[in-house]
Structures are given as structure tokens and as C-alpha cells.
């Protein structure tokens, strides 16, 4: 005789239908992180958000090209000097290389950052245009500031998130170039001739990222449209360069060492000027025409005081503008 099949206990049936996780709501009485580091939470989240789009990754990859180009130039410089037994005169004349001790590698870092600036501006526009403007548009400030954080935490987190995104792209390839030089030119006096190069590289890329972040955060805070913010920043950056260069041409008559500060009185100009100061390079290049002949021109670094002044001023204005505007609620007086 077949024994009867035992009935499945009711409890088992209930468990089969129940979700795997315990979904009941409970109060949270667990540990809390220190309030002093909550801005870092915002910075990390923003860094992840900024670097997520494909456009950021593509432009970030393109931003490595100037440093790869410089690696090729350095390799060529090594090959030509070995083959010719002296100065690689063609490359020197074009301003691409300088074999003067103390300038040999610094010039390459300065050039690479100069070529890379355009990519960094585009990245700033992609990552930063909406950093606060999107929050304004989506009323996210009310969410942020209803949490136990201050508006300074919010601003610092937003700024740092953008800064880290730009700095990673600016510093990463520069560090790669530094590593290449260290490995390839150790015996050529890389450390002996230019011992502070790493510090200069860190400062130049850091200042560039900081200035771009500050300006972007400042303008973004006053807008509800990321696109309009991006357009305004792009206009200020490019139009500023055209205007300052045109004014310099008019006032200096093309004299390379006259009204240098005016030539650098735009965002891009000041960044370029400061990096020239930091790397301590004098750029030698050829000017002229085929008919009249060429002559060598030296572009000495501009005043460090003026460049620092312009850039710190821009950064402070940007951050102050953002700080004024950031509020949890719109107060109409």
C-alpha cells in the first residue's frame, strides 16, 4: 500500500512566496560618519557622474594626444642629436625643443599643457555646465540642503567633484610623460637639471583644473540651464582670448616682450602664462616671412605676480558667485 503523501507545512508555503530580502522598514540607529567629511561624499558622487558620459571618456582620451605627441618629439630629439652629434637645429628653430639645461623637459611639459587646454575646456563644458545648473533646474538644492550639510559642504563637494574630473585628465597624461622621461632620460640629467619638474607639473595642472572648476561652478550656480551655462563659459573663454590677443597686437605692435600681461589677460592666456612661469621656460621660435626672412624671437615668461593675481582673482570670483547664489529655498525680499 502506498503511504499517504505528507502535507506541506503552511510555514514552508509562506516562505516560498516571501521575498529573499527582509523588506520590513526599520529605524536606523547605526554608526554615522563625521560631518566634516560629508563634502567628500558629494565630491565622489559628482566625480562618478561627470566621468560617466561617453563624451567625457572620448574627449579625455583625445586629451592624451598632446602628451603622446610630445613623447614623439622627445624621441625624435634624442634620435637627431645622436645622429647629428649636436643640436637638432630644425626642431629647435620650430620652437618644439630646447636643449638648454633646465628647459629641455620643462618646455615639453609646457607645450603639452598648452596643446591640451582646448580639450580641457571642452571637458569642463561637458562635465561642469550642469554641475549646479542641473540642481537648480531639478530643485535638487532642497534635497541637498535638507540633509545635515551646510552650503559650504555642498559647494566644496561640487567644486571638488569637477576639479577631480578635470585634474585627472590634465594630470594623468602629464604623469605618464614624466614617467617616460624618468625612464628614458635618467642618464641625460633628467633629475639633476630639472629637479622640481614634478612639483611644477602638479601645480600647473592643478591650477588649470582649479580655475576651470571655479569659473564653471560660479556661472553654473546662477543658471537653470546647463546649455546656456556652457555657451556662456565657452564665449567668455574664446572671446576673451581673441580680445586680449587683438588688444596686445594693437598696443605692442607685435613686440613679443611688450604688454605681455595684456596678452595673457584672458582665462587661457593666464593659464598659459602661469604654466610658463612655473616651468620657467623662455620660448624660442621663428617669426617672419619667406620673402623678408625669419628671425628668432624669445618669449620670456610674464610676471608671476600678475598671472597668479589674475587666476586667483578668477577663482575667487567664481566661488564667491556660487556661494552667494546657493540657497535651499528662494527667498524673495
Amino acid at each position: 500500500m502506498i503511504p499517504p503523501i505528507p502535507a506541506i507545512p503552511q510555514q514552508t508555503v509562506q516562505n516560498q512566496n516571501a521575498p529573499i530580502a527582509d523588506l520590513s522598514y526599520r529605524n536606523y540607529d547605526g554608526p554615522l560618519n563625521s560631518r566634516a567629511i560629508r563634502w567628500w561624499t558629494i565630491a565622489l558622487a559628482m566625480f562618478k557622474l561627470h566621468t560617466k558620459p561617453l563624451s567625457f571618456k572620448v574627449i579625455g582620451a583625445l586629451a592624451m594626444l598632446p602628451y603622446l605627441f610630445v613623447i614623439v618629439v622627445l624621441w625624435l630629439q634624442g634620435q637627431l642629436s645622436t645622429a647629428g652629434g649636436g643640436r637638432p637645429s630644425f626642431l629647435v628653430m620650430t620652437g618644439l625643443v630646447d636643449t638648454t639645461p633646465g628647459q629641455k623637459f620643462a618646455l615639453q611639459f609646457y607645450n603639452a599643457l598648452g596643446y591640451q587646454l582646448l580639450y580641457l575646456v571642452i571637458l569642463t563644458l561637458i562635465a561642469g555646465a550642469g554641475c549646479i545648473a542641473s540642481d537648480n533646474k531639478n530643485n535638487a538644492l532642497l534635497i541637498y540642503l535638507s540633509k545635515p550639510i551646510t552650503k559650504n559642504d555642498y559647494l566644496l563637494g561640487k567644486w571638488m567633484g569637477l576639479f577631480l574630473s578635470i585634474f585627472t585628465v590634465a594630470f594623468g597624461p602629464a604623469a605618464l610623460l614624466y614617467f617616460y622621461c624618468m625612464v628614458s632620460f635618467y642618464s641625460d640629467g633628467f633629475f639633476k637639471d630639472e629637479p622640481r619638474l614634478f612639483l611644477h607639473m602638479l601645480t600647473a595642472t592643478g591650477v588649470t583644473a582649479a580655475v576651470f572648476s571655479s569659473i564653471m561652478v560660479g556661472l553654473s550656480a546662477w543658471s537653470k540651464s546647463p546649455r546656456i551655462t556652457g555657451a556662456i563659459v565657452a564665449a567668455i573663454y574664446f572671446a576673451g582670448q581673441v580680445v586680449s590677443f587683438t588688444l596686445w597686437r594693437i598696443t605692442s605692435g607685435g613686440d613679443a616682450n611688450k604688454d605681455v600681461i595684456l596678452a595673457h589677460s584672458s582665462i587661457g592666456g593666464a593659464i598659459s602664462g602661469l604654466s610658463q612661469v612655473l616651468y620657467g621656460v623662455t620660448v624660442h621660435t621663428l617669426r617672419g616671412r619667406m620673402k623678408t626672412g625669419f628671425h628668432e624671437v624669445d618669449y620670456a615668461p610674464p610676471s608671476a605676480f600678475a598671472m597668479w593675481g589674475i587666476l586667483i582673482g578668477l577663482a575667487v570670483i567664481g566661488i564667491a558667485a556660487a556661494r552667494i547664489k546657493i540657497r535651499a529655498v528662494e527667498v524673495i525680499s
Binding site: P19, Y28, T41, K137, V329
Partner: protein
């Protein structure tokens, strides 16, 4: 014990006084903050969160001063704002976990709590979707989840059923009721929808022009000084009305065949017998009768009129 004690609180926007010398004690439990548009409800909530500095007066929420202890307050409070708000580029889990981290929770704890609160708010698998693709009802639930994630002691819900369809409204009100009555959180619900307040709250504070005009438990406020009875007749009957008035009742309202009468004193005889006797005398046919109570809407209208 009161969760909030407000004394002579005044908040001004320039020349406009939004909250005018408000003095009120908000008790534990679920409290409805009622008032017409512009009564100062949202301004009061913003002040209690430390967003706005009071022009004069003082306030304490959970023992913290609203003017000086904004950060400590916001650690203990969860806010579900009235307006649509989210952080773009995130899905619901990331968003709610991020809110938890901003409240100081370690990342792993915040993520676990984000899943729990989103499940609790009935978002289920939709929690992995980008917030920008959410319907209004789902956005309301996410707003509730982000307010709950850090385990607040007090929840501010500003118009929680805004823009919801009947099903969504029902679900949201059930959640609010469950949070306050089953999970033991103190909740302040700001709304101008009486049925929502009636369904979720134990007591109310009614505001008008920045001042408190009525406060108490809903049961107390709805109680009537005199005895009122609602009577449904088959057809309207002026004779019945006249006969009732002859018995000492006062007509309070009359809509078609529905009458509400008030007796200054309870009738000495059984009310059923009295009503049927009057109906026979006046050739009226009674369909039903019950002891009347005021609705919250009546209380509200009386308070703000």
C-alpha cells in the same frame, strides 16, 4: 511630549509677514498642518528645518533651537518637499543611498537602507530605473524614501499627495499612516486636503495668515457642543421640518431630502420613537437617521472664516 515648541515666531520676507507671532506646541504622533494657500505652512516648515532665520521669537524641534542648531535638526528630520525634485543622472537606489551618505551613513549601510526604504515605499524593481523616467506617483515615493533613509525621528511631508491619481493617493496615504502609526515616527503633514489629513493624522494645527487659529485632536475638534442628528427622508418634507422645529429642534442644514437638526438638549424620549412619531404626524417617510458629527472640513471652514 511636544516634538516642536514654537513661541512668538515671526518670519518675514521683506515687508511681507509669512508667519506672524506663532505660538504652538506640536505633539507627538501624526499632526496635520492645515491652512489655505499662503497661510504660512511651508514657511513654518522651512523655518523649523533651519532654512529661514526667524525675524523674532523662538522655536525648538526635538530639543534643538531652530535658529542655531540647523545641522543637528536636519540629522533628525526627513523632508519630503512639495515640489518635484531629484538629482539628475541617478537611479532611485543610487539617489536614495546618496541621500543616506549625505546624512552621514557609511556607504554600505546607506545602500542597504536605500533598498529597504524603496521596497517599503512600494517601488520594487523600478528602483533601478533612472529617476528622469519616473511618473509623478513614483517620484513622490522616491521623495518619501529619501526622507526616510537616514532613520529620522521626525518627518515633514509637504503636500504628500500632490499630483497623484486616486490609487497613488491611496497608496501614499497608507504609507504615511503606516510610518506614523506602525513605525512610531513623528510626522507633520502639511496639506490643504482635508480627507488626507483626516485619514492620516491624529491632531491638527490650523493656520491662517501666519497665525494659529485652531489646534487639537481631530476627535476633539469634530465633537459638537450640542446634539445633532442627520435625517434622510424619502422626499423633501416642509411639514416634517416644521414638526421637528415644534419639538425644539433647530434646522442646521437641508440638502434635498437630507436634514440636519440640532437639539440644545438631548430629547427626553428615545430619538428613534420621537422621529418616527413626527414622521407619522407629518406624512413623511424616514429612510435613515444617525447622530451627526462635524467633518474636518467644517472645522477648517469655521477656523479660517
Amino acid at each position: 511630549m511636544a516634538v516642536a515648541t514654537i513661541s512668538g515666531l515671526t518670519v518675514r520676507y521683506g515687508n511681507k509677514t509669512a508667519v506672524d507671532g506663532l505660538t504652538v506646541e506640536i505633539p507627538e504622533g501624526c499632526v496635520g498642518l492645515l491652512g489655505p494657500n499662503g497661510a504660512g505652512k511651508t514657511t513654518l516648515l522651512k523655518t523649523l528645518l533651519g532654512f529661514l532665520k526667524p525675524t523674532s521669537g523662538s522655536g525648538e524641534v526635538l530639543g534643538y533651537n531652530v535658529a542655531t542648531d540647523g545641522l543637528k535638526l536636519r540629522q533628525k528630520i526627513g523632508l519630503m518637499p512639495e515640489i518635484d525634485c531629484h538629482i539628475p543622472g541617478m537611479n532611485a537606489v543610487t539617489f536614495v543611498a546618496y541621500c543616506g551618505e549625505m546624512s552621514g551613513m557609511p556607504a554600505a549601510q546607506a545602500l542597504r537602507r536605500a533598498h529597504e526604504t524603496l521596497q517599503y515605499c512600494r517601488l520594487g524593481e523600478a528602483r533601478y530605473r533612472d529617476l528622469e523616467t519616473y511618473s509623478t506617483g513614483m517620484k513622490q515615493k522616491v521623495k518619501l524614501a529619501q526622507a526616510l533613509v537616514h532613520g529620522p525621528k521626525l518627518l515633514f511631508l509637504d503636500e504628500p499627495t500632490n499630483g497623484l491619481d486616486p490609487d497613488g493617493r491611496d497608496e501614499m496615504l497608507n504609507l504615511v499612516r503606516d510610518v506614523s502609526h506602525a513605525k512610531g515616527l513623528n510626522v507633520i503633514v502639511s496639506s490643504h486636503l482635508m480627507p488626507d489629513i483626516e485619514r492620516t493624522c491624529d491632531s491638527v494645527v490650523v493656520m491662517r495668515s501666519g497665525k494659529m487659529v485652531r489646534q487639537g485632536s481631530i476627535t476633539e475638534l469634530r465633537a459638537l457642543d450640542a446634539v445633532q442628528w442627520s435625517v434622510d427622508l424619502r422626499t423633501p418634507s416642509p411639514q416634517f421640518q416644521a414638526a421637528m422645529e415644534a419639538e425644539g429642534a433647530t434646522l442646521i442644514t437641508n440638502a434635498g431630502s437630507h436634514y440636519r437638526f440640532e437639539f440644545k438638549k438631548s430629547p427626553t424620549e428615545d430619538i428613534g420613537s420621537l422621529l418616527f412619531a413626527i414622521a407619522i404626524r407629518s406624512n413623511a417617510q424616514i429612510r435613515g437617521f444617525e447622530r451627526a458629527s462635524r467633518s474636518l472640513e467644517d472645522v477648517f471652514m469655521e477656523a479660517i472664516s
